[in-house]
Symmetry: C2
Subunit: 340 residues, 2 copies
């Protein structure tokens, strides 16, 4: 095998066949991928079920970081986007944009990591594509994954379904991913054990949904953090949301880093957390199910939905530990580019 990516690996010819066989098939070649046709043929869901379809591109830098890498993110990110709809993710596509000169050994590590994450999530990579751009026109590796899931009959979750009185849950500590990436980039060491929370959350989401069937919606607070996610939900449902600062789980190391660097932890990205809005009578059941899953042990009820006031648009409020209330705004501009 060649030691670095060459333009010919994207040619459509025999060099491309080689990188596909020796790197991609080696890592995650299943029945559909090995068939060698241009589209994967998949069984359709049963009567009354529907499809969930989502896409995400990944451009994170650095490519490898404590707790994960761009490959793990690429699988988990799309798995989570499909799962938040309430669907069971089953199939992924994977498109690579490689830069000439990127080490094949790094690509192999990334693909092995994708295979591992896909196995944990219970999804299969069934179709793919490889492009190579010339040196200086990319940044090592970009990955797009798209995912298909199956949604049970009658299930309908949406950010537009939140109602006054509903409780807001989050599955664990905020900001781990964003602060980890930032410390890698700046070579800051805030704490030895801080690492990205990148994780496939489909099993956790399924557990919560089983325990609390009237969940209104799930949403993963990735780019833009919890603040942007809550503002999206408030706008979709035309409601206010109030969060209790002391209920929100945040690691001491992350809080310290945010204070030092002037970041708002509510706007820092997460890659293994989910926000859940649920009817009040099922909030405890949802929390218990969440806490039983290995990715939800720090889960908490952090706030609730209230009616929006007619005079102004929907707002998100934070009740601080000092007893004051401030508006939690959507991220404006860019805090940490290329976080995922």
């Amino acid at each position: 095998m060649d030691s670095v990516v060459l333009l010919g690996h994207g040619s459509g010819g025999s060099m491309m066949k080689r990188i596909i066989d020796e790197v991609f098939f080696e890592a995650y070649g299943g029945e559909e991928l090995l068939q060698g046709d241009d589209a994967a043929i998949l069984p359709a869901p049963a009567n009354g079920e529907r499809l969930a379809f989502s896409t995400d591109s990944f451009v994170v830098t650095p490519h490898f970081f404590p707790g994960g890498d761009i490959g793990k993110l690429a699988v988990c990110g799309t798995v989570n986007d499909v799962a938040t709809s309430g669907a069971k993710p089953l199939y992924l596509s994977c498109g690579f944009i490689l830069e000439e000169g990127f080490p094949i050994e790094s690509l192999q590590r990334i693909c092995a990591s994708m295979a591992l994450a896909a196995k944990e999530a219970g999804v299969r990579i069934v179709t793919g594509d490889t492009k190579v751009v010339n040196r200086g026109s990319g940044d090592g590796v970009f990955i797009n994954t798209s995912g298909i899931g199956i949604l049970e009959q009658g299930k309908s979750l949406s950010g537009a379904h939140c109602k006054a009185g509903d409780k807001v849950l989050v599955s664990g500590t905020l900001g781990d991913h964003g602060i980890t990436i930032m410390s890698c980039r700046e070579s800051l060491a805030f704490e030895a054990d801080l690492q990205s929370d990148a994780a496939p959350l489909n099993h956790l989401i399924a557990d919560v949904l089983k325990a609390a069937p009237s969940v209104r919606c799930f949403r993963d607070p990735t780019r833009g953090g919890l603040a942007s996610t809550l503002n999206e939900l408030a706008a979709q449902s035309q409601v206010d949301i109030t969060i209790e600062e002391e209920a929100v789980p945040v690691k001491q190391a992350v809080l310290g880093a945010c204070e030092m660097l002037g970041f708002d932890v509510y706007q820092v990205a997460n890659e293994g957390k989910v926000v859940c809005v649920v009817a009040p009578e099922e909030a405890q059941a949802a929390l218990a199910a969440m806490k039983k899953n290995c990715y939800g042990t720090d889960g908490a009820i952090i706030g609730e939905i209230t009616q929006a006031q007619e005079q102004r648009g929907p707002k998100v409020f934070l009740k601080t530990t000092f007893g004051s209330t401030r508006i939690l705004d959507m991220l404006v501009g860019e805090q940490l580019p290329r976080i995922c």
Copy 2:
């Protein structure tokens, strides 16, 4: 609206919301996309039908060229990959990787072009993603599209189904796309009217399939050209393929350019052509259906499948106009990088 892409447009915050609303929704916002959840929810196919799923990333340079642009390619490429399986393409995802500083006006032109191509193909862009990389880490715009189609019960096309005696058809002239891109890059003007053949071929494919139900397979000869496609089919089916040079449609301008530049027209990329292998008794019906479609008027029967000899692996042969026979090899290395 801002005049160029900024890092904040990929932030997950309010600037991202703005580019989504003002550029993407403006061009192709439909019901699912406007819903604003992380995954599009789609009706499942009827009993017995299956899904076809394919993905492609587009990194072509220049972004605009005679006959198309990166947006048109991104829609047509994935539509065609899904359609070659015999499926009816219905839904596309679209992931943008934008470089900081890319003109918003160019992005708008690209999105309008995607909307037009999607309309012609009869598919809808139902889910999307936007990432922005810093200046110098990308090349203006890269696009990934993934596509879902529905495959009728009992229909099974594959490059592995070719049999000795089958006829090989191509839907029109070879090399138009590759030579157009190359002339743009080198500012060569071979002929005023030479342009990319980029086109959605799903309607043509459906027409041929209706007229000739025992089509073995379709394949679009993109990167690597006709030579690579035929070598793939020969390997998948373990057969030989013989092509008659004088039967292969090629424009005079393309032939001249290839001769001048030392390119093999059989290895030059096409973006609006399809190869079809069909049982001999249905070859004429397939050809007639092809020629009736506006993208198949230059269609031709160009060769046939023969048994591979046991001693050596499957081969593709070209009978030249001089009466000699040469082996038509898969593209090795790279002829024209970033052709799509």
